[in-house]
Structures are given as structure tokens and as C-alpha cells.
Amino acid sequence: MSTTVTPPPKKVNHIGLEVVQYKGSRTTLCAGCGHNSISERIVEAFYDLGINPYTVAKFSGIGCSSKSPAYFLGHSHGFNGVHGRMPAIATGALLANHTLLGVGVSGDGDTASIGLGQFMHLVRRNVPMIYIIENNGVYGLTKGQFSATADIGSTLKTGIANDLPPFDCCALALKWGATFVARSFSGDKRQLQAIMKTAVAHRGLSVIDVISPCVTFNDHVGSTKSYSYMKEHEEVLQELDFVPYFEDISVEIPEGEVRDVQLHDGSHLRIRKLARDFDPADRFQALQALEESEAKGEVLTGVLYLNTNKPTFLDLLNLTPEPVATLPESKVRPTKAVLDSLMDELR
């Protein structure tokens, strides 16, 4: 009779991986940085959903936010490119291998200033990937200059006030073709996790603008991207409940109260309305709601738009089921007979 005590079984997800297999290297961002919370949500979401890390490719541009892909999903390939040009790299990688799950992390400088053009074209193409904007209204790595998402009238630590209006990246994404658009707050663990999981399950471009305070350069009185400002001004649109495809969803949905949206992978997003009636399938309503909350000085968070029907950019390309990157020579080099007949035409 054995006396050895079997250790408690390790906690694993439904594909048998532990949470540690979803973590990255230790963060080098400031303690308390909102970006670290977002990395944690990504780890949780991918672990909970049992996404195999090898199927994921991470992308980023340049800036504090863009460093963060090193701090999650260490078993996934990552590419930290050049400033504002992550969309091109991600698009190219997904052209090469359309079976990859792309996760891009950008910042407000990376997306709304130098990268605005590429961001808009990514949106216009509806490239199927997750595009997270870690939005703190300020350039951190260069020590505290305004970004193009800083609100008019908000101030730097030095007291200088911003006299230009902000770009609302969600409004841009809504207007030009992203199929999942959400805004969240790095401090709202529950909401951000549900949004992150929805993005994983969605087939199309997911734009997630996350207000993610910079504790070093933009967390003071006068900032509209601080923890305290968000606590006072966040207007939460809905209560979100994500039900993955591998879980039982037999629980009855109360009539009228909750919208149930089935996602590409069979998962469901349940959206329970709060103060206002809001239809996340209605782009115009979303744009209007953003305008209204901006006028009131509120930060509207939640699912702004979700369209599960629009074909993605990759769908339009009529690609072979296997990634083109690894097709064998027999598929990518036409035969000598083909060359000979082309030569005959040119004689």
C-alpha cells in the first residue's frame, strides 16, 4: 500500500494547458500601468477559451503599449515592428497564413497619429484580427507629450492645456468598416475580459479601445485619462456575459432584457442593457451615442457595434485552405509546359 500523497492535479483549461503557458516575460512597464492589466486580461481570455498559443501571432508598433506583446502569450510568435505600421505587418502575415489568430496591440500615438492611415485601411479592409488600442492620451516613452486622443482642454503634468480635439478611434472604426467595436477601461476587469473573449471568437476586425491610464505622465488632476477621471466619468453601456462554445448555454434568456449574439466560433455574447436602450447592431446609433457622451464629458464603455455577417478581407481573396506560405513547390511553381506555352505567345 502506497503512502505517497498524489499532488493536487494542476489546473488546466479545456485543451489541457496551464495558465503559465499563456504568460509572457516579466513586464518592464511602470507599476500600476493600465497596460499591464490589459496583458493580464489577454492571458485570462486565451487561457479560459483554450486557444492554442501556437495558432496566435502577436503584433505591435512602437511605444509603451507596443512593448506589451512580450508580456503575454510567450508561446506565440510576436512581431514588434515600426511606429504606426503594425497594421501592414499584421495584414501581410495573415495573407501568408490566414489560419493565424492575429492579436495587435497599439497605443494612441501609434494608432491615432503616425499610424492613422494604416489603422484606417486596416479598418476599411476588415482584416480579421484583434486590434487593441491601449489609450492613455499621452506619449510615455518620450516622457509625456500629448497624443491625438487627448481631450481638448485636458492638461499635461506641466499644466499645458491641449487645444485640439481628439480622434475617437471607436468612431473611426465604426464609420469605416470594423465589424466589432468596443471601448473599455483597463480597471474594469469583468467588462474587458468579456470584450476580449468576444474579440477572440469574432471573425472580422475587432477594434478595442481601452482607456489605460499612464500612472507616470497622465494620472493627475486635469487629465481625462486618469484612474480617478474614469471612476467619475465612465458610462457603462451594458453588462456583458460571454458564454464559450464549449459550455452549456441552456440557461433561459429573459425576453427583452438580454440580447444574445452568436459568434463565429459558436460562442455567445449576452448583452444586458443598463440605463439606455442600445442596439449594438446599429452603427448609426453607436456613432450618435459616442457623440452624445463626448458632449456630456462621459466616457462610454461597452460593446458599441458587432456585425457577425460581413466577409473579411481574407474571405475576399479566395485563398486555398492551406496557408499560402507553406504550399509545396508543386502548387506554386507552374510546370515547364506552362512556361513553354507562355513563351510561344510571346514569339
Binding site: Y54, N80, V82, G92, L94, L100, L319, L327, V332
Partner: protein
Amino acid sequence: MSTLEVSPADSLPGQSIHPVVNDFSIQVATVNGSGSQTANSVLMRAIFQMGIPVSGKNMFPSNIAGLPTWFTIRASKHGYIGRRKEVDILVAMNPETAREDVEKLNAGAVVIYDAPLKLNEVRSDVHFFPVPFDKLVAPVCPDAKLRKLVRNMIYDGVVARLLSIEMDEVHVALGKQFGKKKAKAAELNWGAAKAGYEFALKTFTEGVPYRVERMNATAGKIIIDGNAACALGSMFAGVTVVTWYPITPSSSLVESLIGYMHRCRHDPETGKATYAIVQAEDELASIGMALGAGWAGARAMTATAGPGISLMSEFVGLGYYSEIPTVIFNVERVGPSTGLPTRTQQGDILSTALLSHGDTRHPLFFPCSPEECFSMAIEAFDFAEKFQTPIFVMTDLDLGMNNWMADAFAYPEKPIARGKVLDAADLDKLGGFARYQDVDGDGVGYRTLPGTNHPAAAYFTRGSGHNEKAQYTEREDDYINNMDRLAHKFEVMRQFVPEPVVTVPENAKIGFVAFGTSDYAVRESCDQLRDEHGIAASYLRLRAYPFTQTLLDFIQRHERVYVVEQNRDAQMLGLMRLEFEPEILAKLRSLRYYGGLPLDARTVTDEIIRQEGK
């Protein structure tokens, strides 16, 4: 019913007893957008079909319609297909330039012109052949709207009659030009060509001192532009991701490729594409996508010209430093800035070789012909993956956009080589890998592709400082190790780039070094120097950067070596200055032309004679 008697043409009564046979140039001056391209291509092709080496060069404005354009056809029994400065036969269709075009001619030249232009008033020492184009086109083209496009075909008939080009061949060329689907258009044009021929037959009793006679020097050859040849090379290289942004003169490279891929690269059973071609929003995006695709394992490419190269600079540095294979076709045009977008130059040599900030070096291939556009495109894809780096295939507007006579392309003998890529099975055996470790001593590490199902497959690619394991580092030793390995990798490339082509005649004291489209002028100039001046000149045609020992040996064995290039600042010579010892550099001379037209032999020869002090 036509009573026209077609080929073989009889000599004209007044034709000189000793006409110049198969050695002349025809210049057609028209207005951009008037459909003259068809007439010019047909004329060129008809001569080609008669077996005479021929070249066609289009000198066109950066404009959609309305500005002057010139097309030059050179026929040469000697096989010289570079540009020739002298015009023997002018077809003057453009009222804007006609007088100036006539004034530039040498005495004795032939001028075929639109009769109302009254060019015969301009001078009396050239042969004039007025043709009433409007009068001739009306009966053969009842639809007045089409007349503008068909009208030019009349001069094909006139030229054919005057030079004894067989009308049967004009007919065949027309069929080739329009294809079976546009038989009606071909017929309409044939009517116009015949009208021109008949008119000339009836009207012109005076002969011309030039004549086309059948040869057998073009059998089996093809006519193709360099851009289409690069496109074919890319397709047979197995390209899988093509991302681009339109820019003259590279646009037709990808447009040709789209056509070829659409025909030849869809799965015959499912109709699915084995490739993706994306028109990006700009060159920043096109190179970024190509790098993203190369990183994920595709055979990726883009094509551009000078302004696009400037825009790609930052990304190319990333590609160099993070070591991502991609092929960039640089179809050079005249810079700086917007420059002359529709003229040719070799003006991006230095900027491309060293593109991007920091210490960067990129391999460059220099094809000089459609055959090499094809073979070097294939080689470039292998090279990019072998050395995990961006590589540039450097052509120019002259090679890319003009039609060239070429040998039929040879099917690639070597299988596609994808370089050092580890898959899951390799990783099982190895246990792991370090992305930037120089395991084999050639400076090239092993890579994995995203999507590789193995826990040890992933690594993090970045343009910031990284160590062998691809981890972030700012350490002095890590940085230097990495940069030294990259330098070593570039040294290793010297053994694998295409070797120069060298010709050394007996007693040659001087030599030429040239590359790309300068080849035609330099080869012809070597003959001119020998035949006209008794000077023996060697010739080394560079085919790649980095340079190889062959170039050094060549310079060492000659007293003086002229580096011929089509730019103002002797850029290729500049690259040599970066690495050669002073005693080598002392032997080098520079010979440059940068006016935007294809280089011609006479310019080279005259400059050699001047510099040699003879």
C-alpha cells in the same frame, strides 16, 4: 475588293543602288494617348518577324493624353539593340514637335509626315514623303470616333512600302497584337495599313536609302518588356504574397503578374488562389505587408521606384535587422524627388544599397535583359530566404517598360530552396533553438514560422536591440555581436551572388565596368573603339552587389577601368570607394550619362576618346 499586291515588295524605282540594309532607326513622333503604341508595336514586330534584330523604345511624357511622345525602332543586323542617337527615318505626326523633330535630323534622313504640316518648307536636305492621313483614314474607317486610333496604322503601311517590309508580316503582327478576341479591331487596322501601303505604292516614285531584307537572327526569340519578365520570374519562383502600390515605371510589373497569376496559379480543381496580391494604401504599407508575409513564411515581394524606395527606407532597415526575407523590385526612374517619372536612370544605386538609418547593407541584383529579369527574379527569392534579408532586383524604366527581343526563358533547373526553417519535428530533435545564433558559421540563424505547433517554436521579432535568443537587450556586447554577425553574413553573400560576365580581348589596357541596361551601349562601344579607333577594351558586366573577387581581379589587370553608369554622382563607383584600397581606386575612372534617355554607344565612345586623350 483590294487590288493590293502584298509581299514580297518590289524595290522602288528611285531606290539607291546600295541602300543600307537592316541597319537604321525609325522615330515616330506622335501625341500621347493617340493609340500610336499599337502601330509602333506592329511595325517593330513585323521587322522582328522578318528575322532582323530589333528594339523599340518609347519616350513618353508623364501625362495621360495630349503631350508629345516619341517611339524609336532600331533594326540592326549586327544585333545592336541599344539606343541609337541618330534618326534615319522620321514619322512626324505631332504638329507640336514636327518642325523641331525635322530640324534635328542629319542630312539625307527620310521624313514621312502628315501632309498638312507642310514640313518640306523646313529644309531641303532630307527626303520628304507627305501623307494625307485624314483623307486616307476616312474610307477605311467609317466610324469617325475610331479614326483617331486607326489613323496611325496608315504610317505602318507607308513605312512598309518604303523600306520593303513584307505586308504579310504586318498582318501577322496585327493579329498577334490584337489577339483572336479583337479580330474586328485587327481587321480595321489592317485596312488602314493597306491604305497606307497602296498610297505609297501609287504616289512615291523616289526611293529611300534604307531597306529591310530577311535575315534569320530572331528565330525562336520572344518580344517582352522587362517588367513582364520580372513578373514571370516571380511567378515561377513561387511567389505567394505580392503587395504593391502603383508607381511609374514599376506598375506594369505587378499588373503583368496579376494577369499571369490569374491564369496560372489557381488550383485547377477548386479554383482557389495559391497566392495573395494586395494593392496597399502606400509604399509604407506595401513593404510592411511584404515583410509581415515574409516573416510568416510566404515568398513575398513588392515592386516600386525611387520615391517608393525612399518611403520604404524605415521598414527595409527593420527587415535587415530582424532578418526577414522579401524581394523588392526597384524599377528605377529619374530622381531626385518626383524627378522625371517617365525617363530612365540608374539613380538609386547608393541609396538602395545602404537604405535606412544605422549600419545597413542590402544585396542588389542587376539584370540587363528580360532573360535575366526572369532568372534573377527566381534567384532573388531563393537568395532572400537563404540569407533571410530583403533583396533588391534593380532594373530601370528602359528595361522595365520597353519591349525587348529576348531568348525564350529557360525553366528553372533547381528546386525552390526555402532556407533555414525549422518545423515541429526539427524542434523535437533539437529541443529548442536560438533565432539569431550563427550555428553554421555563415551568419544565418534558423527561424521558425508562426503557426508551428511546438512549444519551443515561438520567438519575438523586433527592430530593437536583440540577443541570439531574440530577447530585448541594450548590452554593448550583445549589440556588437549581432551587428558583426550581420556584417559577416553580408561577406558570405559574396560567394553566392551572380558573378560578373567578363570579356577580355587581347592587349586590352582599358576596361569597362557597367551594369543593367548600360550593357547594350557598352558592348556596341567596345566594337566602335576597336573598329574606329583601334582600341581594345575589356568589359566586366556587374550582376550583383556585394562585389566579388572577380571585379577586383579585373580592375587589377587593367591600366584604367571606366565605370559606366546612368547617374550624375558615380554611385556604383561610390560603392567601390567604400571598400577598395587606394591603389585599386586609382585605376578607376567614371563615365556617366544621366539625361533620362537610354544610354547610347556613341556617347560612351566619344567620352572614352575624350578621357583617353586620343
